[in-house]
């Protein structure tokens, strides 16, 4: 069973339906017990970094994610749901970055591009060993964001360039994340989701 974490962030319906195309049962929940126990947890997210952290803290979301990591259960962050996994977020922070869940190092900072948000379909440079991108490494995915992680860490990083190079996906053991929206990326996104659900 896949749980989509509901912490008050926008449009969960398309994530629910997109993950359901994998054939697995999908529930949208803010119940900590269900979220910790699920075979896979999806952390979606639209909006600003601080607002999302606030919503996440209200349901003790950081602990849900950390408990799953301890118990070696897979978690998938999407868009802001990826960003909040990092240590710090600079969005609307006036020089004093907001704290994230902090399972990954580094800071989420604004993209150096003339037109923001980075909105639309862009391609990726995925590593050869990537599980998520197997069979879709040459496809485009749908992005909507102005901030991103730009520092390399760990092993399986996927990069995209818009103004500058940033991390468009991370595969770090039991935790994976994409800056783009696989649930809005057509057949390529559905295939990527299936790659993940089949790895559970």
């Amino acid at each position: 069973m896949i749980a989509i974490l509901d912490y008050g962030s926008g449009n969960l319906r398309s994530a629910e339906r997109a993950f359901a195309t994998s054939g697995l049962d999908v529930v949208v929940t803010s119940d900590a017990r269900i979220a910790v126990e699920a075979d896979g947890l999806v952390v979606p997210g639209v909006g600003a970094f601080a607002a999302c952290m606030q919503g996440l803290n209200a349901i003790d979301g950081a602990n849900i994610i950390k408990k799953r990591l301890e118990r070696e259960r897979p978690t998938f962050g999407i868009c802001i749901g990826m960003q909040i996994l990092f240590a710090l977020g600079e969005e609307h922070s006036l020089g004093k970055p907001h704290s994230g869940v902090g399972i990954w190092p580094g800071s989420i900072s604004e993209l150096a591009a003339p037109i923001l948000p980075h909105m639309g379909w862009n391609s990726v440079e995925a590593p050869y060993e990537s599980v998520l991108f197997a069979g879709v490494e040459s496809e485009s995915f749908y992005f909507v964001h102005s901030y991103a992680a730009k520092t390399a860490f760990g092993k399986l990083q996927t990069w995209t360039t818009y103004g500058e190079r940033f991390l468009s996906a991370v595969e770090d053991g039991y935790v994976v994340a994409t800056q783009f929206h696989p649930e809005k990326s057509g057949d390529a996104g559905l295939k990527l989701i299936k790659n993940w659900t089949q790895s559970l």
Binding site: R13, S14, V46
Partner: protein
């Protein structure tokens, strides 16, 4: 690696049906918005826009249901505009499955609405729809309201700058002079708006020939919206994309999985 230009078909919806001339042969029911959304998605549309022109509240309820059913079946971004007056309206549409919403008349009447929506849901959900025409304002472009029927004396460029400062994430620029003419996008207007805004710009109104799409991109548009040329089958989405691709504009190929 480059961001692709977006091709966006726009469907005018009222009381659950697509209106404004639709002429498909390969559909069971040419007026069903969910079916049309699926078809355009399969043909390679990069986003979809529904413009709700319902006059009644029951019509708007029906649109919510259409958004719900579309989001369940079509996995590309969906923007919904028309009749949105409050944060509550936005919340309802987003929860039904819209990814972005566009506002126009209500933001002109009460510009703070822009900041209210952006603060709550983020700028990325908020498209400012600007229905503009050539007129004797400072910049030569005036904003119109009520679907282009009424002038506002509001200068289009000043309005765009103000709206960007308040937090819109994208601009949908409709030329009321070019709309429906198929004589080409208003290139001068696109250039002028591009020069005062740093958010993505969608050009709308006037698409006719394939070269028209390229000209709008040259003028600074990031995305291209069209209605009648697609609904009447003058061009298929894949034709526009292959034309642009062969002229070295970045386009997204349909996934072949």
């Amino acid at each position: 690696m480059t961001l692709s230009v977006r091709i966006i078909p726009c469907l005018d919806v009222t009381d659950g049906r697509v209106v404004k001339g639709v002429n498909f042969t390969n559909l069971v029911d040419a007026g069903d918005p969910v079916e049309m959304a699926q078809l355009y998605g399969a043909e390679g549309a990069d986003e979809l826009t529904f413009l709700d022109i319902s006059a009644s509240s029951s019509g708007r309820e029906t649109t919510l249901d259409i958004v719900r059913r579309t989001a369940e079946q079509v996995f590309i971004p969906l923007t919904v505009g028309g009749g949105i007056r409050s944060v509550l309206d936005v919340n309802r549409l987003l929860r039904a499955g819209a990814d972005k919403i566009s506002i126009n008349t209500s933001a002109i009447a009460r510009p703070e609405l822009i900041a209210e929506i952006a603060d709550r849901f983020g700028s990325q959900v908020l498209v400012l729809s600007v229905d503009a025409r050539r007129a004797r304002t400072d910049s030569g472009f005036e904003v119109t309201t009520h679907g282009g029927r009424e002038g506002s004396n509001l200068d289009a460029l000043m309005w765009v700058e103000k709206a960007c400062a308040l937090g819109v994430g994208e601009i949908l620029l409709n030329s009321m002079d070019a709309d429906g003419t198929r004589a080409g996008y208003d290139i001068g207007m696109i250039r002028a708006v591009r020069s005062v805004s740093k958010v993505p710009l969608i050009a709308s109104g006037g698409a006719g020939s394939l070269a028209d799409f390229a000209a709008a991109l040259d003028a600074g548009a990031d995305a291209l919206l069209a209605a009648s040329v697609f609904h009447f089958g003058v061009h298929r989405i894949k034709d526009v994309k292959s034309y642009l691709g062969s002229h070295n504009y970045p386009v997204r190929a349909i996934a072949t999985l």
